[in-house]
Structure formats: structure tokens, C-alpha cells
């Protein structure tokens, strides 16, 4: 048995069991017999195992340098270190879609285990089977990584050097796909809800999956930004590149949906809107793949084209048509239980969701605009960062204001007791902005600082007031603090909000106050810049199995030695600059080795980028993930009640 044969076998089994699962749920639906759902669950497990075999076979081929199949022959090299060999599986199109299929089959199986509803589970499970079948059929018939190579080469070209330059590239795609695939579960339940005409409960049933997917999308986007900062050597973390946008659009729509789903759960409102939003969010994950894998848009990390573009476009249209056709059919009978007052929590949540949807629209517009212009006028244009920044600044302020106000206002209607909190928040806003201006910050940065304080006061009030209330009723602050334990989910949400405010602050500062300079220095020469002394001590070369590196030893006063380097990979004529970053709480010192004296090694050209608060961006990402984990962690409420029943009373 060769890896190629094993892989083909695994894929065939996976397709077979997915079809079997689909047939079983159709039988369950037509015959109204729940036993077939149990059969489908088993088929889901077997389909997952089949895909796992294919995944394992491809890893087997990569780790044993088997070049007899297409994927390794094109994307692998014996010179890679082991971790790169392992991660090469998702370094190119075929493998990354196989990984996607693997995660989709895993989610289908796990989501199936949790489906209890007699009416909706056949449809929801069927939708998931259909989605996974799409990916599996693609991997088996269109972009099969196990296609035999007639004359296997002795060695291959290896994966894109940019992907080997940092370990984060082994993690980022998995996080991203866990997020993308996670959105398929709420989508499948929404389809089931529309087919079975049960418009309310699907939201609470899929809330866990939605937040799970949201957490991974968030982590993946930040991880990608960090990778870009650490590897690409231009000193930034976000470039409004089409691939970045492709991951941002589903995140924006999922964020909008997280908030309106909460309103539907609590107040049975926005039902039609939620059906539309979940369809759009799931479609956006496929749209992103279409954009970046079809060659329609050129980008740093777009894989080579092929027949995948039109196929994904077709799948995108099927998702949108199915979602909106079903919604159109039932929309006349989907009714909300009541109406919305703007000045209430649900009113502001709706406004906040609108802000996120508009942001998504702006990103789609900016990403597709070059295509539209070229189609109509023939001019080749690109939409630069100024466009996105211009629109995201006001939208970002709206988001910051709403995310503080929403949780402070109670459901249904504003009460007088919240007015004191609002007054304190307004004071913080004015004070923060004023102090910022007095310190000489730009208006935009000052306003962001003001809104950061605005959020901080809101969160402080949200945390303190229930504790104070409990303490008043039960006597003693400690009992009040005990209340924290049972509403961990709420505090997880607050933590995420705090982290978003911190992100906004870090973005405002890092985008507004940035120093970017270049200088050619002799070895041993010092450079006074940005309040530091930069000295080049030595220039040396290091040979590794898969690359050759030129490294400069540069001392930054007070921060120690940094080692910016140029990496030369065998398969590429261009060297890849690997920057060296000294993180501090205030500013980052980011050094890139731009060029060096190739004849006598007497000089180097360095680029220095000094950016404030970037470290806080990564810190806020960690806080967001922590907050999400707090929300998702299985509830220990029952245990708590047993121990301290008075807290619940």
C-alpha cells in the first residue's frame, strides 16, 4: 500500500459515507423515522474517519518524502525541516481543501451528536452532509492531491518560502478553517428552521457553535496580522489585501449575527434578519475562498488558479439561492414577538449589527471595485488603504460608542437608573478626548482614547452594579463578588468588549504615529535615531538544510541585540527578509536588513520602523480568545447552586 492508494481509498470511503448519510436523512425525513438519523450519525463518523485516513496518507507521503503523487511532487522538498513538512499539507490548494473537508466532516459528526430535535435534525444534518460532500467531491475528482505522477521526481520545489519563514503559518490556516467551517453549523440549523417552520429555537441551539467559530475567526485574523508583521518586513500588520479582506468579511457578518442572535434568543425579535445574516456569513466564507483561490484577484498569498474558481462561485450561488429562496417562501409568516424601541438594548444591538453589515459591504465594495472598473472602462486600478481607512474610521467610532451603550441600557426601555452611568460615561468621553488633545495627539487619536475611556467606565459600571446590588441584598461584598462566578458568560462578553476597545486604541496609535526610516551603516557604525543608538556589530552567514541566511547583529541601546536576516531559499531567486522586532510596552523597534555589501561585507542598509502600542494589539487578541473561552466553557452553575444556594435566590 502506498500513501497515494491509501489516500484515494480514504477519500472514496468519505464520499461513500457522506452519500449514505445524505440518503439516511432523506429517509428519516420522508418516512418520519428517527432511527435513520442515528444511522446518519454513524455515517458522519465514518465519513470523518475516511477523510482522516486521506489526511493521514498525505502526511505520510510528506513525512516520508514520497514524490509519486501530484501534491508532494509540486509542493514538497526533502530539505524541509519536519514541522515544515507537516505543515506543507495546507501550503497549497489541494491540501488546504482536504484540510477544510476534514474539519467539515469533523463538525458534521460533532454537530450531529448534539442534534436532539426530531423535526429539524434530518434537515440540519442533511445540509451539513451536502456541504461536506461538495468539498470531498472536489478533492476526489477535481483537485485530487493523490493523482499519481508517472515519473516521480527525486525532489520537489518545496512550499512557498514565505510560508516557511515563521511557525505561525503552521497554525493560522487551521484556526481560519475552524472558524470558517464552524459557521456551517448555524447555517445548517437555519435552513432546517426555515424548512420545518420553527423560527425561534435554532438560534439558541447553535449559539455555542457560532461563538466557537467566532473565536477561531478572531484568533486567525490576529494570527495572520502577526504573521504579516513578523514576516513580510514592511512593518505593518494589515494591508487591506484581498486575502485579508476575504477573512474579514465573514468575521464582520458573524459578529453582527452574534449580537442579533442574542436579541432573538432573549426577545424573539429580528427573526428574518437572522436567517439572512447567517446565510450571508456562511456564504462569505465560500466567497473568500473563491476570491483567493480562483486567480480573479491577484494577491500575495493567492494560490495558482485552476477549475476551482467557477466551482466555488457555483457553490456560493447555491448557498445564497437556497438561503434566500427559503426565506422568501416563509418570510410572510416569520413574525417577531413585538417591536423594537431604538433607545433600548435591543435597539442599539440592531444598530451595532447594522454597523458591522455596512463594514462588510464596504470591504466587499473595495475588494471588488477594481474588477468592476476594469470590466466597464478597461482601466486598471487598485483601491488603496485610504479608501478603507476613510470609511472605517467613522464606522469604528460608531461601533465603539454602541458597544459601550448597548450593554448599559436595559432590555425593552431605558430606565432612569442608567442615566447616572450614561452621565459618567459622557464625562469620561469628554475628559479622555480633551486630555488627548491637550497632550497634542491628533483629533482622531484623542477621540479614540475618549471612546476607550467611555467603554472602560461602561464596563466598570456593568461589573460593579450587580455586585453592589447583591451585596446590598445579601450583606457583605464577598457574597456580591461570588455573583461573578455564576455569570461567567456575561463577564466573558465584557472581556471581549474591553479587548475590542483596546484593539481600537492600539490601531489608532500605531496607524497615526509611526516612524519609518532607512540608512546605510558601516560595520561598527552607530546611528542615533528615535531616542536610541543603533550599532551594527557584525554581518555573518549561516547555512541550514533548506536555506542560506545572511544575518546582521545589530544592537539597539537598552533593548539588546537584534538579528534581522535575509533568507535565501533554493527554489527562489529572491531572498526573503526576516525582520527582527523588539517589543516594548510602549513602542516596537522593527529592524529589516534591506541590503548588504555583497563584495566586501563592509556595510548594511537597515530599515527601522518604530510603531507605538503594537504589543497591545496582540495582547487584546489573547484577551478576546480568553473572553470567548469564558463564554464557551461548560456551565458549572448547578454545582454552584448546590454549594451556595443563597446566591441563586
Amino acid at each position: 500500500m502506498t500513501p497515494g492508494m491509501l489516500g484515494q481509498l480514504g477519500l472514496m470511503l468519505a464520499v461513500f459515507f457522506s452519500v449514505a448519510g445524505l440518503v439516511s436523512v432523506v429517509a428519516a425525513w420522508v418516512l418520519r423515522d428517527a432511527r435513520y438519523v442515528r444511522v446518519a450519525r454513524r455515517a458522519a463518523l465514518l465519513a470523518f474517519l475516511g477523510t482522516l485516513v486521506a489526511f493521514g496518507a498525505l502526511e505520510w507521503a510528506l513525512l516520508t518524502d514520497d514524490f509519486s503523487i501530484l501534491y508532494t511532487a509540486r509542493n514538497h522538498t526533502t530539505a524541509s525541516p519536519t514541522w515544515v513538512k507537516f505543515a506543507t499539507l495546507w501550503a497549497a490548494l489541494e491540501g488546504s481543501i482536504l484540510l477544510w473537508a476534514l474539519l467539515q466532516t469533523l463538525y458534521t459528526w460533532l454537530a450531529g451528536l448534539r442534534m436532539r430535535d426530531y423535526w429539524t435534525s434530518p434537515v440540519a444534518l442533511g445540509t451539513l452532509f451536502a456541504v461536506q460532500l461538495f468539498f470531498l467531491v472536489n478533492v476526489l475528482f477535481v483537485i485530487n492531491p493523490f493523482t499519481p505522477v508517472p515519473n516521480p521526481p527525486a525532489d520537489g520545489p518545496g512550499p512557498n518560502p514565505l510560508l516557511q519563514n515563521h511557525w505561525m503559518m503552521a497554525v493560522h490556516p487551521i484556526l481560519m478553517y475552524l472558524g470558517f467551517v464552524g459557521l456551517s453549523v448555524p447555517f445548517a440549523h437555519a435552513i432546517a428552521a426555515m424548512v420545518t417552520r420553527r423560527y425561534q429555537t435554532w438560534v439558541s441551539e447553535t449559539k455555542w457553535w457560532l461563538i466557537f467559530a467566532w473565536g477561531f475567526l478572531t484568533a486567525a485574523i490576529f494570527a495572520g496580522g502577526w504573521w504579516s508583521y513578523e514576516v513580510l518586513g514592511w512593518g505593518g500588520y494589515w494591508a487591506w489585501d484581498p486575502v485579508e479582506n476575504a477573512s474579514f468579511i465573514p468575521w464582520l457578518l458573524a459578529t453582527a449575527f452574534v449580537h442579533t442572535a442574542m436579541v432573538q434568543e432573549r426577545r424573539s425579535l429580528f427573526r428574518s434578519w437572522n436567517f439572512a445574516l447567517v446565510t450571508l456569513a456562511f456564504a462569505a466564507t465560500v466567497f473568500g475562498t473563491f476570491l483567493t483561490r480562483s486567480g480573479v484577484i491577484e494577491s500575495v498569498h493567492a494560490f495558482a488558479g485552476g477549475p476551482v474558481g467557477p466551482i466555488f462561485l457555483g457553490f456560493l450561488l447555491v448557498i445564497l439561492t437556497t438561503g434566500f429562496a427559503l426565506l422568501g417562501r416563509v418570510s410572510s409568516e416569520v413574525r417577531d414577538a413585538g417591536s423594537v424601541r431604538l433607545w433600548s438594548r435591543e435597539g442599539l444591538l440592531l444598530l451595532g449589527a447594522l454597523v458591522f453589515v455596512v463594514m462588510a459591504f464596504v470591504v466587499i465594495l473595495g475588494t471588488l471595485f477594481p474588477l468592476l472598473v476594469e470590466a466597464f472602462s478597461g482601466d486598471k486600478v487598485s483601491v488603496g488603504a485610504p479608501f478603507f481607512n476613510q470609511l472605517f474610521v467613522p464606522l469604528g467610532y460608531a461601533m465603539l460608542a454602541l458597544m459601550a451603550l448597548g450593554p448599559v441600557l436595559p432590555w425593552r426601555r431605558a430606565e432612569p437608573e442608567t442615566l447616572r452611568a450614561l452621565a459618567a460615561m459622557a464625562v469620561a468621553l469628554v475628559l479622555g478626548t480633551g486630555v488627548g488633545l491637550a497632550l497634542g495627539w491628533t483629533l482622531w487619536v484623542s477621540l479614540t482614547a475618549g471612546l476607550f475611556l467611555f467603554n472602560l467606565v461602561a464596563l466598570a459600571w456593568l461589573v460593579a452594579s450587580p455586585i453592589a446590588r447583591k451585596a446590598r441584598v445579601l450583606g457583605g461584598v464577598r457574597t456580591g463578588v461570588g455573583a461573578l462566578a455564576w455569570s461567567r458568560r456575561r463577564y466573558g462578553g465584557y472581556l471581549v468588549h474591553f479587548a475590542v476597545a483596546l484593539t481600537a486604541l492600539a490601531i489608532a496609535f500605531s496607524q497615526s504615529y509611526r516612524l519609518d526610516v532607512q540608512k546605510t551603516l558601516e560595520i561598527g557604525e552607530s546611528w542615533q535615531v528615535a531616542g536610541r543608538t543603533i550599532t551594527v556589530h557584525a554581518l555573518r552567514a549561516v547555512e541550514e538544510s533548506h536555506r542560506y541566511s545572511v544575518i546582521a547583529d545589530v544592537e539597539v541601546s537598552g533593548l539588546g541585540l537584534l538579528h534581522p536576516r535575509l533568507n535565501y531559499y533554493r527554489t527562489s531567486r529572491t531572498p526573503f527578509a526576516s525582520p527582527a522586532v523588539a517589543y516594548t510596552l510602549g513602542k516596537d523597534y522593527y529592524l529589516v536588513l534591506q541590503a548588504f555589501d555583497q563584495k566586501d561585507s563592509e556595510w548594511v542598509t537597515l530599515r527601522l520602523v518604530v510603531t507605538p502600542l503594537v504589543l497591545w494589539l496582540w495582547a487584546s487578541a489573547v484577551l478576546m480568545v480568553l473572553g470567548t473561552a469564558m463564554i464557551l466553557w461548560p456551565s458549572t452553575r448547578r454545582v454552584q447552586v448546590g454549594r451556595t444556594p443563597e446566591v441563586e435566590a
Binding site: 472598473v373 483601491v383 488603496g384 485610504p386
Partner: protein
């Protein structure tokens, strides 16, 4: 009741559309070849553009001390002198496809951002040089 929401929604969308398209007009960066520029220089006056073409043979002057880089971009018909501050990328060589982002300053194009369009397989230019169509194709096909 419904009408109120509809009107509100339309106003919001109108404002966004206005902002978006107004903003787009100012922040679009046109992609131009030297001969396209020569046809109508007034159109690109003072605007940020991306100038594409080949590095003309024997025109590259670079001083690593001052980081001044000068070269001529050509598409086989029209030549445009470019001035840029900063290290040229490793693959910056004669007859290499480049895209320079920047603005025209009189006759000279001041580059702010230099992108190399390199195909991994180097080809010698044909006898008699490229035509603009060939140059455009070359640059677009390269990654």
C-alpha cells in the same frame, strides 16, 4: 411603522453610498504604462498612480550611502525617468518588470513604493525590444 424603518434604512444606505463612491474617486490608484501616460499626461496630473514597465537597460544608478535610486521605466515606446529613495529589491535588474507607485513631478516620476514583478524564469527580451502590449502582458502574468 414599516415605512419609518424603510426611510431610515434608505437614508443610511444613501449616506454610505455617497461616502463610499465619493471616497473611491479620490483613493483609486490607476495603473498606467508609460505610453498611456504620454497620450494624456493631464489626466494623471498630481494623482497617485502605479507606473508599470520594464527597467531600461543601463539606466540604473544607485548610491547605497544616500539611498538614491534612479532608473528609466520603458514599455518599448515611451521612456520615463524615475526617482526613488530606498534600497532596490534584490531582483531589480535591467529588463525586469517593475511597478512603481508614486506621483509625477514635472517630467520625473517620484516613486514611493517599488514592486518587482518577477517571473521565476528569466527571458531575454526579443530582438527589437518589446511592444507595450507585450510589456503589459509580461507584467500582469508575473507574480
Amino acid at each position: 411603522m414599516k415605512l419609518k424603518y424603510l426611510v431610515g434604512f434608505l437614508i443610511v444606505m444613501g449616506a454610505i453610498a455617497y461616502l463610499a463612491f465619493g471616497g473611491l474617486g479620490n483613493s483609486l490608484v490607476y495603473y498606467v504604462l508609460p505610453s498611456e501616460y504620454a497620450e494624456n499626461p493631464a489626466r494623471y496630473e498630481g494623482k497617485r498612480i502605479r507606473l508599470g514597465g520594464l527597467v531600461k537597460e543601463g539606466t540604473v544608478r544607485y548610491d547605497p550611502k544616500s539611498l538614491d535610486l534612479r532608473f528609466v521605466v520603458t514599455d518599448g515606446v515611451v521612456d520615463i525617468p524615475v526617482e526613488h529613495k530606498g534600497t532596490p529589491p534584490e531582483l531589480f535588474k535591467d529588463n525586469q518588470g517593475v511597478v512603481v507607485e508614486g506621483r509625477f513631478d514635472g517630467e520625473v516620476f517620484r516613486g514611493e513604493n517599488l514592486l518587482i514583478k518577477h517571473s521565476e524564469t528569466y527571458q531575454a527580451p526579443p530582438e527589437g525590444g518589446y511592444t507595450p502590449e507585450e510589456v503589459r502582458k509580461l507584467i500582469e502574468e508575473a507574480k
